[in-house]
Symmetry: C2
Subunit: 355 residues, 2 copies
């Protein structure tokens, strides 16, 4: 097992340029104190040798440690969706910890805009090198990221995007296409004309996402000239009783509903309703790999779940920050996640990687 002799380091560069290692180092980190002439010469040699710094040695020698902040919703009793990104963050942290990178996680309450603001301010006080956030509250997120930009702190969005904010990257779903796929799954091989119900269960906050999904959903029907009548139900209170009350009304007003699309992870509420009311033969499609959703998938009440790899989103987001801050690499600005289709038959293999 011979040693890799094709590798040239700073030492070789210094030798070829007739300078010391320190000078080469100055050029590499473009610090001051090198004449234009030698700088140019060294840069040429670097290019010629296609010098790749040894990150191991680099991070070992460097004492400046990097701190990343994570700003995501706290896992609530209502949904354990944000568990998955947490796992992704832990997996990433474990991987890059030896590189001197630390992660501080800040949680906000999805029912409380102020908690977002408070936590965001905490991050700014701390002074971190990079931020990963879920921009659940648009206005507050804009304010926060604007401040980040001013302070030259790179930030990455996951789960949903604010395109105008010049984030370092967005890692999450293409919501329009996701809704588009939802319509496909809901209507695939459906021949009889019937009504389709689109249900949005959320406080108004998340409406932005919802709109893109519904737009995609309707586009599919339109493009494929499917003439199902689409009715909508907007349910502002997320508890089961509210959902049941609303749905009861919708069903009393509309006969012939044979398919339901829920625009977010609260599809389990609708499933519970259908099961309680013994309504069979209604197709149901919704979002996210939650324990409760999987249960209804297994009982057959939910036909398909759509999922965007939340664990992977967070993992990649951390790695994007790492690559930018430590390696100085360019990263893909928009990384759409796969739009995964989960059924009763493949759900058992859709698990997150162990930390």
């Amino acid at each position: 097992m011979e040693k890799d002799t094709t590798y040239f380091g700073v030492k070789e560069i210094a030798r070829r340029a007739n300078v010391s290692i320190a000078t080469v180092d100055r050029v590499i980190h473009n610090r001051t104190g090198v004449s234009e002439k030698t700088k140019k010469k060294i840069n040429e040699i670097i290019k010629e040798l296609d010098y790749q710094p040894n990150i191991l040695a680099s991070r070992l020698a460097s004492k400046n440690i990097i701190i990343l902040a994570v700003l995501i919703p706290r896992v609530s009793v209502e949904t354990d969706f944000w568990d998955a990104p947490l796992y992704g963050i832990q997996r990433a942290e474990k991987e890059i910890k030896p590189y001197g990178i630390q992660i501080r996680t800040f949680f906000f309450d999805l029912n409380d805009e102020n908690s977002f603001e408070t936590q965001a301010n905490l991050i700014l006080e701390k002074g971190v090198n990079g931020v990963l956030l879920s921009p659940s509250f648009i206005a507050q997120s804009i304010r926060f990221t604007e401040e980040c930009r001013r302070l030259k702190i790179p930030f990455v969005f996951i789960d949903s995007n604010i395109p105008e904010q010049h984030s370092l990257a967005y890692i999450g779903p293409h919501l329009f296409k996701s809704g588009y796929l939802g319509a496909k799954l809901l209507t695939y091989r459906k021949e009889k004309e019937s009504k389709i119900l689109v249900v949005n269960i959320s406080k108004e906050i998340e409406n932005y996402n919802y709109l893109q999904i519904e737009e995609g959903f309707r586009s599919y029907l339109q493009e494929n000239q499917l003439s199902f009548e689409v009715i909508r139900a907007d349910i502002k209170d997320t508890d089961y009783l509210s959902v049941a009350r609303n749905l009861t009304q919708v069903f009393s007003e509309n006969e012939n509903i044979e398919a339901i699309f829920v625009t977010n992870s609260r599809v389990f509420s609708v499933a519970t309703f259908l099961e309680n009311k013994h309504r069979k033969n209604i197709s149901l499609v919704g979002y996210d790999f939650l324990k409760e959703n999987i249960q209804h998938l297994n009982t057959g009440t939910i036909d398909f779940l759509i999922c965007h790899k939340p664990e992977e989103q967070a993992y990649r987001a951390i790695m994007v920050l790492y690559q930018t801050l430590v390696r100085g690499q360019q990263v893909e600005k928009t990384q759409y996640m796969p739009i995964d289709i989960i059924t009763k038959e493949n759900q058992e293999f859709y698990q997150i990687l162990p930390v």
Copy 2:
């Protein structure tokens, strides 16, 4: 940004044990030359401090480089399936190259058992530290891995498994469940009774995989009491003309075929046939994210593709070897991949990560 002060290294262990760093090092790598008494003492301190070696420093100081061999089919004109694992391997290699790990890739010809043997022997001659292989030829793979076991070279299977060979790990699909899902997709919301055609296009080699898939496929139909009549077509020659000839015959002998399941990636041949013969309204489900398959997905001839993340399989397999050889970690022995469902609507987001 304070330095991480919670970390204790060998130096601290040596200090607490009143020995030198070298002695601690001897204990850590359980080399000889340490008395039982000091060994015990040092081990206690290690446990107490929950010492985690700094891999960066470790790999930097260590001069012994690790060589991994990869033994997979060459990308052929018939299918570019094995492109994806190659990408995964490249991605893994880039990541762990600075740790002193090198990868040598050996290709064999899927139409030539001998080429497998030749390449396998080459690997054994070279003397490598770990092997990743696709056991396309059962007998030859058994012989090869038996030799690996004798030489104490760990090996990992991807794509398909030989459970009795005590591999370090298997990373690939659960074929039975994959076929099971295939049946679901093919029959979902199909109400009319009709015939289902199961097509297997391959030289006999890959039959083992095929059998598990078909078993799963039939199980689904049986468990769900679906009384579609299943007919089979075994096509030994993989060129289009043979496929067309065979299918023509099957169709002439059977009317009322409304759904076709192809047990591997050659579903594009069947799709081409259907398009040439202008046979619409036949559902078609098959395997793998190949360019040609995607085309037929987009034209609507193929309804669903099932895919097992070949890029990820290879990536993970390399990482499993890395974790075992470098970090000495235990790894999951069987890692089933997700069984992904690809449709026209979500295919554009099912791409492999850039290297």
